[in-house]
Amino acid sequence: MKAKGEVILWSLLDKCCEKCKHSKINPCPDYIECRVKGPLCHDDQKCKELRKKRIEELKYGVHGSKIRIPLSSCTLATGAEEIYNKFKEYILEKRLDTEITISGCFGLDYLDPWFEVIMKGYPAAIYVKVKGKDIPRILDEYFEKKDVSNAFALRYRTGKAKGEEKVPLLDEIDVWKKQRKWVSRNCGFINPESLEEYILSGGYSGLSRSLKMKPEEVIETILKSGLRGRGGAGFPTGLKWKITRTQPGNPKYVIANADEGDPGAFMNRLLAESDPFRIIEGLTIAGYSIGASHGYIFVRAEKPLMASRLKKAVEEARKYGLLGENILGSGFSFDIDVILSAGAFVCGEETAMLSAIEGKRAWPRQRPPYPAQQGLWGQPTAINNVETLAHVATIMSYGLEEFVKLGTEKTKGTKMFCVTGSVSRPGVYEVPVGVSIRYLVEELAGGAPEGSSIKAVQIGGPSGGCIPKDKFDLPIDYETLQSAGAIMGSGGIVVINDNNCMVDVAKFFLTFTSAESCGKCFPCRIGLRKLLDILDKITSGNGSEEDIIVLRQLANSVRNSSLCALGGTAPNPVLSTLRYFGDEYEAHIRDGVCPANVCKAFITYTIDQEVCIACGQCAMNCPVGAISKTSSGKYSVDYDRCIRCGTCFIICPVNAVQKVGKKEMVRGEVCG
């Protein structure tokens, strides 16, 4: 409750006193700096203290303690909502003043669900892999005993809590230390729905700085930074803006492409769910520098949380005059619409996206003319990936000196990578461009889990390529990956272990792209279908030597003659697996063997009579009744009736069921 005569600053963005001249109609150019560093236009100790108090409140909660629980798609999937409810119960039960705020995900997905407890004067502790039933114990320890010894990491030390020396700081932890957090610096540690916290963390200073420069100067800065599009093709962002700016035609448009559909890629989702204001700031800077007055954010409809966070952020920014007319008193007006995608993978292709925004069927268009010349409604349009825009905002706020230090000669800065698949620490890692694949997969993501070994990685999603283990020392940048047969794509890395058959992997990705092909041009619509038919033929054991030649020829033809980037890159999995794992194709065709024992046509299941404990689980669960009891009381498989579904293999409690290549089986029987 407000005491009599006491002034309370409810929000950092509010006026401190009547002397503040900022209003929505007549905004102050120093609005952002003023809000964080105390009033700039008048020197009043009272106002400064008000602001300082509010900043303290934001950092440690209104009553000196707060719990930060990440609510993003990845943590919600692992049960963060249950933990959130437990917090509420706990606080009601103990009658605490603790504030609960939400945050985004910090990228280390193998640690989900996690949360952070902050209390003024005590270290901020991060607890990971928590379960609902542990919550009261952990909070009791922290709030009552002031004991942090069970925490995973600390954000900072104060030396007052028990067991503090045992727990490392987050910055000292290996996985964290080896990354270079640049655009994802706020992810997980600010409230994605609060503009206050974003501004406090240094946000919007980039926009405020840009609006004081000329648009050409902003473009020049981005050009100097050497930033390249993080969406996959790697076109220099500054150059794209320059072309769009110099094109005749008004109005111009800017679009943020947040339609991320690759299986195994979720860095854009993480960024938009954890730090949506950074994207909006970047888009506003882009709009200012190319002279656009309207921007769009094109969000994948299958990621509803990401869309709602972005929508909320746009509303919030509009409320405080950071979108709308006369932004920060510069005379520049800009507004953003968040548009949900039409629900197909091809919508992420830039020209298809334009059609989708115009309300047409999401069909790609022929380039040239490029969107920079004739884009949305036939007007010059700059389309950027959300990660690129986040980079822009970060460069403008933190200066390009630090950015230029990172990366390689040709590609500067950092890139977020999603490492998924057969690794022990899947997650999103941000590293400077140019680190080796080995660094990402083995040092950051922890290599293969026990009992398996890595065979290859698929970089760039379904339209990328497979890179084998012996090429893991290659640096990850646009040119090197392209020459190795893969693409950077949006940065999804799927790790494939030796239990996977490469023909099957190629088939998997091709099934995806052929289903997602829009059907406009023939090479992609029919060509991918035919490629899939041939792969089907090989994996079902009917392949011939000629198939490999046809496969290569057709894949090259589809790649060269397709209309858009989907068809142009879809045969990459086939071509790269043919290039690096040609022996597996040959084994399927010539020897009739699947080296990884995956393809159903080449394997059978047998039961090891010595290991079998005659529990009968396999016989009970076999869908075709192919398993029966033998005279010895144990079980055996009827090979003719078996459909190779693998149910017995999964269900056997003692691992007596074994996958055996068909050829080996036959040979064994003959010998025995």
Partner: protein, 236 residues
Amino acid sequence: MLFRKSVRKRWLGVKYVVKLKLNDKEIEAEKGKTLLEIALENGFDIPHLCMLKNLYYGTSCRLCLVMTSRGKLIPSCYYRVSGDEEFIVDSPELREIRRVNFELILSYHKIECWLCNRKGNCKLMDISRKLGVEGLPVCSQCPLAPDECLLTKGILCLGMITLSGCDAECITSGGQCWGCRGPVTREDILERAFRRYKELGFDLNDVLFRAEIFWNSLKEFERIREVVEKVKGDDK
């Protein structure tokens, strides 16, 4: 200067001309025309299928691809010339790409030429002959309309199962086909054809007997027999 150069020229009634180099031929062309139009005017034969003038420039069929000087493939039906450029309009490499794309189109085409109203004036047929892609039956070349077909009059003709491409007197003048050019290779066409024979009341053994005259020694004849057995077995 009041207007830009191009605007002034247009006002004076002077067409704006660009210099193009197609293969090795240097030509002058009007600015703003499509590359396909210019190439066709200058005697280059670029196959094209999906483009409809002033109506559809969707670049779906990808048959009219030409190569720019940078080695990129672009569809010529869509590309409007705007400056002095060089293109490769016809080369073995391009023809190979066009052939693959055309084969893909054919592979998803339900070929029932004997029932098709466009037979005798078929664009697919024209392009397939230009590109040297074989696979269509003789019916696609036959000048008789579907309701004038010899088979409806009870005359046994092997056109439905014979490979097209010959310009022999017998078929170009609407006579019956004896199958001297060999059978169609695609099994689904054969199957549909034999169904049609059965529908029209022919004994399939008679058709096989006629076919044996030229195809007796062929390896594929065994497969044709299998197809016939399959069609025969449908009733049971």
